[in-house]
């Protein structure tokens, strides 16, 4: 279960606060997965005490977009901490789906990759198994396949942290790269942080989704949680 609370001392109208929170959650807490299970209790609250002496912020205020962006940034950091603490996790993975026709398609594809047990096992095993990523893209529950065009599909691993700047092109314009530099892949996958970039090449929308690997530890924790 995910629980969260964000507090601020700005005066913000009730409808503007709901707008800010809903928008921030859609780009943060609703873009994470540890195990693909949705709890019966997930809840995020936001309270604005209004203790700072300034004009009430409403949706028409000039400051509204500035505050919305700052709340979104904080929500993303809080959501990422949940993934970093994923039960038994050893990897923190950003799945960045870009150049999609719309955000919804980008998110469905990113979430499908993030919830694939086989992708998560490969990440735990530090195996550059791009076939499983492609397979997940192929079964993503998209309304239609307008965002998908094999000839413009590119998938790559991008290094983060210690491997910053390293890039491994796994699929180039729909053609698998069979000459993967395995040593480079091993070095990147040995890091805690990794980014999987899926470039659909069919539009301009994108989604960042955060997930972790699936380890033996996860099963140990959950095999007898009720007790």
């Amino acid at each position: 279960t995910l629980l969260g609370f964000i507090g601020t001392d700005l005066p913000i109208s009730a409808s503007a606060l709901q707008n800010i929170l809903s928008s921030a959650v859609n780009r943060s807490f609703n873009c994470i997965s540890v195990d693909g299970d949705m709890s019966t209790n997930d809840t995020i609250y936001m309270l604005a005490s209004g203790a700072v002496d300034t004009d009430l912020i409403t949706e028409s205020s000039e400051l509204f977009p500035v505050v919305k962006a700052q709340v979104t940034e904080m929500a993303q950091k809080l959501a990422q901490l949940v993934v970093r603490d994923g039960e038994g996790s050893t990897k923190f993975v950003t799945v960045h789906v870009k150049r999609a026709l719309n955000f919804a398609d980008a998110k469905v594809i990113a979430q499908t990759i993030s919830n694939s047990s086989l992708v998560k096992c490969a990440l735990y095993g530090q195996d550059a198994n791009w076939g499983r990523i492609l397979c997940a893209i192929g079964y993503a529950q998209l309304g239609d396949c307008a965002s998908l065009d094999e000839s413009t599909l590119n998938v790559s691993f991008v290094g983060v942290g210690d491997s910053e700047g390293a890039e491994l092109n796994l699929i180039v314009d729909g053609v698998p790269n069979v000459n993967i530099d395995e040593a480079k892949a091993a070095a990147m996958l040995a890091d805690t942080d990794l980014k999987i970039v899926v470039d659909l090449g069919t539009g301009t929308k994108e989604c960042n989704f955060w997930t972790c690997d699936l380890s033996h530890e996860y099963i140990s924790i959950n095999a007898d949680y009720r007790s």
Binding site: T1, L2, L3, G4, F5, I6, G7, T8, D9, L10, P11, A14, L17, Q18, I20, L21, V25, F29, N30, I32, S33, V34, D35, G36, D37, M38, S39, T40, N41, D42, T43, I44, Y45, L47, A48, S49, G50, A51, T54, E62, L63, V66, V67, Q70, M74, K77, L78, A79, L81, V82, V83, R84, D85, G86, E87, E217, Y218, N222, Y225, R226
Partner: protein, 208 residues
Amino acid sequence: QRAASVASKYDRYVPSNGVFPLGFKVGSIATGVKKNGQLDLGVILSTHEREGGPTAAAVFTTNKFKAAPVVTSKARLAKCEGHGISAIVINSGCANAVTGEVGLQNAKKVVQLAERQLGKKDTTLLMSTGVIGQHLSMDKIERGLDALLSDSSAFGNDFNSWLSLSKAMMTTDTFPKLISSQYTLPGGTTYTLTGVSKGAGMICPNMA
């Protein structure tokens, strides 16, 4: 190896200080629901008196079988339209989910207990997390809530109070999740955002 990994996560992701928004006080207590005396009940109070009171917003699970605290709080927020909420009660160790009518009554009882102590009405929201399918230990919750709300020194707006609150929400988490930032808006107004979260398993939210 696991202990080392947990220790390094704590070092890397848990702050050692912070800035906290004006108009809030938070407190937490161990009621005995969680084993070995861990903190398992937290309360967030909005203390700034302003006309119309603080404003509130929420997103909840879209799981069809919503837990009792979700059903109760959704109804509260719908009724007050985001106005006048001044307390949030958070318990961990028991999710009060899939608990039927008894679960709903227990959730309402927790609200009543809090509002009786606070001298308020219809101003409280709930969050619960933990084992699904078991009822709240109402004797422990009632004793803990009374003890916490009757001791004003248990509440603060400092780093340790907020860190303890984030620990009181944890279940299988290995470290508390607390972030705070101060911002200066165009025009010079400085304001503060503070956030706490919890979660480590059963995580694939789609809240609305």
